[in-house]
């Protein structure tokens, strides 16, 4: 049973309704091991809703989710984590006042062996060691593992957040706008990191507004429009024009101003 034959994560006819808004309408979606899927679409197209459905934050109303070929129910975030689905949200959820090691292990601190275990003494040495190993495996360079996360650049913070998601040894990683608000060199670092996730044979889903970034890393581009699947492209074969046409639903791209006036449907930009 090779990865190519059975996708790691497979959504079948997933729908989600928020009051009068049909946020997701019978969407089929899949990601395989060692594959990067770019999830694109206009504001309100349902990208975040789809990711939240997979992550267990907003469970879908209808449809089935299969993980490694087996049907699963993901009704809360812990379900997703237990399956091996990690999510990195746009706001990263890091504690600026803690250092890199502390942030990486937040909520799953390693406790010292021996008598000090009674007080749940932190095993700082072990945590720092594992952090150093993980970051060097990912080729992430951070000046000092003991520097506060608040002092790091946006790109470094993003890399810390992605690295943290890997600690639970997930099989699928969902990244919500990982390159938003990053400068050019930082974006490059983060895209490099995503490529290394693929090399580790993880299934990666990247939400992005930036088509150039998507084309730089994705194997496949999945387009959502108004909650429905609006196209799926092999990144090598498609052009940006094709994808933009699928996003907007018309032959040629519309002008930016008009695009920005689209009403948002319960989704943060």
């Amino acid at each position: 049973m090779s990865a190519a034959a059975t996708p790691l994560l497979e959504l079948d006819g997933v729908s989600k309704r928020f009051g009068p808004v049909q946020a997701l309408d019978r969407v089929d979606f899949a990601v395989g091991a060692g594959e990067v899927v770019g999830l694109v679409g206009d504001n309100g197209a349902g990208k975040s809703t789809l990711v939240k459905a997979i992550a267990g934050i907003n469970p879908p109303d209808a449809g089935t989710i299969r993980f490694e070929g087996e049907e699963v129910r993901i009704s809360k975030p812990q379900d997703a984590t237990a399956l091996g689905i990690a999510t990195v949200y746009q706001d990263l959820a890091l504690c600026d006042n803690l250092d890199v090691v502390a942030n990486l292990f937040l909520g799953r601190e390693q406790v010292s062996p021996g008598p000090a275990r009674i007080s749940r003494q932190l095993d700082e040495v072990k945590m720092e060691h594992e952090t150093a190993d993980l970051l060097s495996n990912l080729a992430v360079t951070i000046p000092s593992l003991r520097s506060e996360v608040g002092t790091l650049s946006g790109g470094q913070r993003q890399q810390v957040a992605v690295a943290r998601s890997l600690l639970g040894d997930p099989k699928v990683v969902l990244l919500d706008e990982p390159t938003a608000a990053l400068g050019v060199p930082q974006t490059k670092q983060v895209l490099e990191l995503i490529r290394r996730l693929r090399e580790r044979n993880l299934g990666v889903v990247v939400i992005s507004h930036n088509l150039a970034d998507v084309f730089a890393i994705a194997d496949r581009v999945f387009v959502l429009r108004l909650g429905q699947a609006a196209g799926e492209f092999q990144a090598e074969e498609a052009t940006e024009e094709h994808v933009i046409a699928a996003i907007t639903g018309i032959g040629e791209g519309r002008d930016k101003n008009h695009e920005n006036q689209q009403p948002e449907k319960g989704e943060g930009a």
């Binding site: 504690c95 006042n97 937040l106 749940r120 003494q121 932190l122 072990k126 000092s144 506060e148 608040g150």
Partner: protein, 404 residues
């Protein structure tokens, strides 16, 4: 191009975290405490010039006894401040707990230790209640504990009854603040403290070496050990040349060291810092945020009760003023003066001791100079304001240099 340079510079910095790196860690980690220690030296110098009894062994011993209550209450306050919250009830809680102890001991003839345990339990229960109300109903801690301040002061009057004051006679209770150890015992304390600290440093160092870190050098550890040993030896020498090492000082030191350990080296302490830094991030990381909050307020109530017991022991009595006056505000001001942030997530339990020393020195020195309480309060207020301003300036500089 420049990005590439920056990246290689980063890599280089990562590969050789040498002496400058270690130095930076030491300086950044302890910068605010260094500032406070300099402030203490300045205060001591000013008072010593005016009145040469200030640095006498007798007066320094008195000073240590005077700060015990504030210091103990501040230990709990540090935890509350680390959460970014405030507890205005600790003064009243300390008074009420002490009154409970006094009534049980004097009127009901309870065993001293049971009476003390009951007082501590009252403080813990009050803290737990306030913490639960605050986290369950999402009411600002300011308001919950302000209500507590009023209510527990009322309870204090109620518990004391018509007499309004109770004299404590049980030597086991009064001994807490009035026992002094012989010179020999004092030196044994010093030896044990230094040996324990040295052992802790050595274990940490050996573990890092064993783990194969290449940035370890024994030099900073040795400097630290020598520094701490010097302070301990000088302190014991001074205390011994007067009445000896007081039990009260050992109690205060024990709580400061113990609670600093909990804050900095246990997963509970890490969670306190995380909740104070970014509660939402802590929640998403699976930390039970409300449990942490309740635990912290319970600690604050407990430490307030212990402080109240020490105050009663020192005064040989509990009266309607117990836990009142400026005790609450000084207990909060102390850690803030010494560098614990009011906004949560930054600070250390040592600031409870350092802050109490600053406030205690000012108060003690002005008493020696026979200044009025009017002057004392204004000067203390001025020092608090100055400390907060210095902290704010330091924070702004951190922000402009990219450190948040």
């Amino acid at each position: 191009m420049s990005a590439r340079e920056a990246a290689t510079a980063d890599e280089a910095a990562e590969r050789r975290p040498t002496t400058s790196e270690t130095l930076r860690r030491i300086v950044q980690g302890d910068l605010s405490s260094v500032r406070v220690v300099l402030g203490l030296v300045l205060i001591a110098a000013i008072f010593q010039i005016q009145e040469d009894r200030f640095l006498s062994a007798q007066n320094l011993t008195n000073l240590m006894l005077q700060i015990t209550t504030i210091g103990l209450i501040s230990v709990g306050i540090v935890y509350v401040l680390l959460l970014g919250e405030i507890d205005l009830s600790v003064g009243a809680v300390s008074g009420l707990s002490a009154a409970v102890m006094a009534v049980l001991s004097v009127k009901h003839g309870w065993n001293a230790y049971l009476a003390i345990a009951a007082a501590v339990a009252v403080g813990a229960a009050i803290g737990c209640l306030q913490g639960s109300l605050f986290s369950r109903f999402v009411v600002p801690s300011f308001v919950v504990t302000l209500a507590g301040l009023l209510a527990w002061e009322g309870a204090l009057l109620q518990v004391l009854g018509q007499t309004g004051s109770l004299n404590i006679t049980d030597p086991k209770i009064t001994g807490l603040a009035n026992i002094f150890y012989s010179d020999t015992v004092g030196w044994i304390f010093a030896a044990v403290i230094i040996a324990a600290y040295g052992a802790a440093l050595a274990v940490g160092y050996r573990r890092r070496v064993a783990a194969g870190f290449d940035d370890v050098s024994p030099l900073p550890q040795i400097v630290r050990l020598v520094f701490v040993a010097a302070i301990v030896l000088v302190a014991v020498a001074i205390l011994n040349s007067d009445r000896g090492v007081p039990l009260a000082v050992m109690i205060l030191l024990g709580f400061v060291v113990g609670m600093e350990y909990v804050a900095k080296q246990t997963s509970f302490g890490r969670h306190v810092f995380a909740v104070g830094g970014n509660a939402e991030a802590a929640r998403r990381a699976g930390i039970r945020v409300n449990r942490v909050r309740v635990a912290v307020f319970t600690i604050a109530g407990t430490m307030a009760a212990i402080g109240g017991v020490m105050a009663a022991s020192r005064l040989f009595a509990v009266n309607q003023n117990s836990g009142g006056n400026e005790l609450l505000l000084l207990a909060i001001a102390g850690p803030v003066i010494a560098g614990t942030s009011l906004f949560g997530g930054r600070g250390s339990v040592w600031t409870a001791l350092l802050g109490a020393l600053v406030i205690g020195s000012i108060s003690n020195g002005m008493d020696l100079l026979s200044l009025s309480s009017a002057v004392k309060l204004m000067v203390t207020g001025g020092v608090l304001l100055l400390a907060v301003l210095v902290d704010a300036v330091a924070r702004q500089q951190r922000q402009t240099s990219g450190r948040v």
